[in-house]
Amino acid sequence: MKEFFRNKTVKNILYAVLAFVLSVSIVGVALSSLLRFTVLNNSFLTDALNNSNYYTDLCDEITDDLMDIGDASGLDKSFFEGFINEVFVREDVQDYIDKFYSGDKLEVDTRHFDESLRTALDKYISAHKIQSYTDSSLSYFIKEATGIYTQHIELKYFGMLQKLAQDYSSKLVWAMIICIVTAAAACLLMIFTNEWKHKGVRCIAYSTGAAALFTLLIPAAVYITGIPGKITIISRSLSDMYLTCLNTILTDMFIISGVLFVLFAALILIHNKIRKKAT
């Protein structure tokens, strides 16, 4: 058995396998930590919303849609001008995001909107001395307007993603730990089972280089194929928000790749130093 492991070809194959395992582990650590600190992180999304001009666009879109329904209901165009308050929209969206990450039922709290709309309608009716309406026609209008508000506050597809995010959030931590342990084990095996330490370092450098290339090629491929420019979601604000998220993730991948390339270069230097000492 010992003779078998001393065979040069067997040794090379074993080190190649170890190098592959190490590369996969490094990529695993990089990607799982990327997910942990971006998609699965509440503040990442909050920042993305703030950086993408989301709230201003969203308020405009809500006002536009409410004006349409107001048009159909016999209200003046001016009724909804300045009706949507960005501060409350921010609060409602943030509340929705918090529910997403805490695993609570994804519901939009429309009490404030509802109350404001009823008050504004009462004022409008008395100011214009309107008599031609019924309680049911007004309730129908309020219900539809609230529905429009809810649709806009909800972040599309988050309902589908919530369970997935909850399930994978804890699993991801374990995946990260497993990848770190595997990577450490592979590094130790490469160094301590090798007579020549520089050969072990060389293998680690190969793996780091491969991981750096891998994390570079993914975002590069996404940009080359023009995927970010093709994102199409129901509204401008949502499209911009998803685009900002995607761009941030891809930029982070470029940064990770850069860090790995620096590490790769450092390992080459260490390798050369140890080899010189050994010879």
Binding site: A19, F20, S23, V24, V27, D64, D65, M67, D68, I69, D71, A72, S73, G74, L75, I125, I130, S132, Y133, T134, S136, S137, L138, S139, Y140, F141, E144, R202, A205, Y206, S207, T208, G209, A210, A211, A212, L213, F214, L217, I227, G229, K230, I231, T232, I233, S235, R236, S239, Y242, F264, I268
Partner: protein
């Protein structure tokens, strides 16, 4: 000395070749592992992609050029068929104070700027049902004055059409029998919410029915 230089060159080569090879193996590995789900992932991804950038603006295209032609037929190849959301004509009713831009499609932009043909129905000249929607407090407010025998005029770039009002009906938004989209005869159905001049939304609908009296038939449609 030479041997050492060669070894150093070989080392540099190895630092390029091996990482690239490993990276390739990783891509193959990832592809092999994700192969069962890749078509699903691509399908889901394509739901959020479009070939060209979407236009989120609330403006609309106008392809309507008034014409005086009074021909009985018009060839399909001479008709500039409207895309969804485009203005392609005008609709008016004599003595009723209805005079609006006519759009293909009845989404928010058309109804904000005029009246719109439901995209599941037909445009004038097809010999089928034309279902037109408009708001009761804006462009179709004048329908409250409509009477049997009134003339509805639809002007398009490929011809001018006249329809004679045959009747009206008050029903609910769930009443699918209020119109027949499979009718083989050209008929115009205008509808709006009811009651007129009332605040709020309602599920009542006011229908106006009219039959074609003049206007070119589009020929060569199915050739």
């Amino acid at each position: 000395m030479k041997k050492s230089k060669n070894k150093s060159k070989k080392n540099i080569k190895n630092f390029i070749i091996f990482p690239v090879a490993l990276c390739l193996v990783m891509f193959i590995f990832v592809f092999a592992v994700s192969a069962p789900f890749i078509s699903n992932i691509v399908s889901i991804g394509s739901m959020f992609m479009a070939d060209k950038q979407v236009d989120y603006s609330k403006s609309y295209d106008n392809i309507f050029i008034p014409t005086d032609t009074n021909a009985d037929t018009v060839n399909a190849s001479d008709v500039d068929f409207p895309g969804i959301g485009k203005q392609f004509g005008e609709l008016s009713i004599e003595n009723c104070d209805v005079d609006a831009k006519l759009f293909y499609g009845d989404s928010s932009v058309p109804l904000r700027n005029g009246v719109g043909i439901y995209a599941g129905s037909f445009i004038p000249g097809y010999g089928r049902t034309i279902l037109v929607a408009g708001h009761n407090n804006t462009y179709f407010n004048g329908l409250k004055n409509v009477k049997k025998g009134d003339v509805v005029i639809i002007s398009t770039s490929y011809g001018n059409y006249k329809y004679k009002v045959t009747g009206t009906k008050l029903t609910t938004d769930k009443d699918k029998k209020a119109y027949d989209l499979s009718a083989k005869k050209e008929n115009l159905v205008l509808y709006t919410c009811y009651p007129f001049d009332s605040l709020g939304l309602t599920n009542q609908r006011f229908f106006v029915y009219a039959e074609k009296t003049s206007g070119p038939v589009i020929t060569g449609l199915y050739e």
